[in-house]
């Protein structure tokens, strides 16, 4: 029996999941340990707005937060989130500027690789997308978001159709199939 299965995955949800997971961690990573509340409220609220799906507001707040950024960590967080935000606004060229900003200063920023891989995928630059996925996974081997992005990359470049076949087999430890055939024919 050969049954073909229709692929029911929703590509839109995959994009959101891949970006939002990268954004959410970035937001919480920047919270200081000794001060009550986030240091940069605009970056923090911007990240939360992106996660909530209010992309334009998220981008606006994040840009404001960048203006008030203290130190390289906040700057990187802001640019990484802007990369995600602009991609969600379907402005991949603008998104690429911000991802590049992060990676030029920090080659170990796996979230930026994650987001830039999506940007390259959106731009149809598949080789570069694959390279960023590889670099991101080398930095963060167990990352679920990178697995999602890799799956999206494979769907674009090497699409597949799921197939499930069934093979009816009988297990008869006491008698063989031949003996059963003989019994039924008598």
């Amino acid at each position: 029996m050969d049954m073909r299965q229709k692929d029911r995955s929703d590509p839109g949800l995959h994009w959101l999941a891949a970006l939002f997971l990268a954004v959410s961690l970035q937001a919480h990573a920047e919270e200081p340990k000794t001060v009550l509340g986030p240091r940069n409220i605009y970056l923090h609220d911007g990240a939360n707005a992106l996660i909530a799906g209010d992309i334009e507001e998220g981008v606006r707040l994040t840009r404001r937060g960048l203006e008030l950024a203290h130190g390289a960590r906040e700057e990187k967080a802001g640019h990484a989130n802007l990369c995600a935000g602009y991609l969600l606004l379907d402005q991949p060229e603008e998104a690429l500027v911000h991802c590049n900003w992060v990676l030029e200063r920090d080659a170990s920023h796996w979230r930026a690789y994650n987001n830039r891989a999506l940007v390259y995928l959106r731009l149809g630059r598949y080789d570069e997308s694959e390279e960023d996925i590889r670099k991101g996974q080398a930095l963060r081997p167990g990352s679920k978001t990178l697995k999602i992005v890799k799956g999206m990359y494979l769907d674009e470049t090497k699409p597949v159709t799921p197939n499930v076949e069934v093979d009816e087999r009988r297990s008869a430890p006491q008698t063989s199939d031949d003996e059963l055939e003989t019994d039924l024919s008598n």
Partner: protein, 124 residues
């Protein structure tokens, strides 16, 4: 299919036998196929799982267990599919052997052939 066909013909022509063992020749009436697991598809994992089970007189499956599998991702979908599958019931005078049936599911991912925009070669 030939075996199943011969079984149907025999049942229609012969006298019912109380000693007839129909346990291992049960006819599926409703076969549920498992879903291809999303994570397996995403990560391009293929595999196979064999599930063995008993079939009740009423045609339901029970005591479902995985006999072997190449990846655990496929086990639950296979068990769920077998649990929802049914077989043609048998008469009360049929002696069930209690022998388990087994079903092997093979999960594969086939490359999707896409149309290209290459123009047809010009005739000359």
């Amino acid at each position: 299919m030939a075996c199943l066909l011969s079984l149907r013909l025999f049942a229609a022509d012969a006298e019912p036998s109380p000693d007839h063992d129909a346990g291992t020749k049960r006819v599926p009436s409703y076969t549920v196929m498992p879903d291809y697991p999303t994570v397996a598809r995403r990560d391009r994992i293929q595999g196979e799982v064999q599930v063995c089970f008993e079939i009740t007189r009423e045609g339901r499956t029970r005591r479902i267990a995985v006999r072997r599998s190449t990846h655990r991702l496929f086990e639950k979908p296979a068990i769920r599919a077998v649990r929802r599958s049914t077989y043609v019931p048998v008469a009360d005078d049929v002696v069930l052997s209690g022998i388990k049936s087994c079903r092997t599911f093979r999960f594969t991912l086939e490359p999707t052939v896409m149309e290209t925009d290459d123009p047809a070669p010009a005739s000359g």
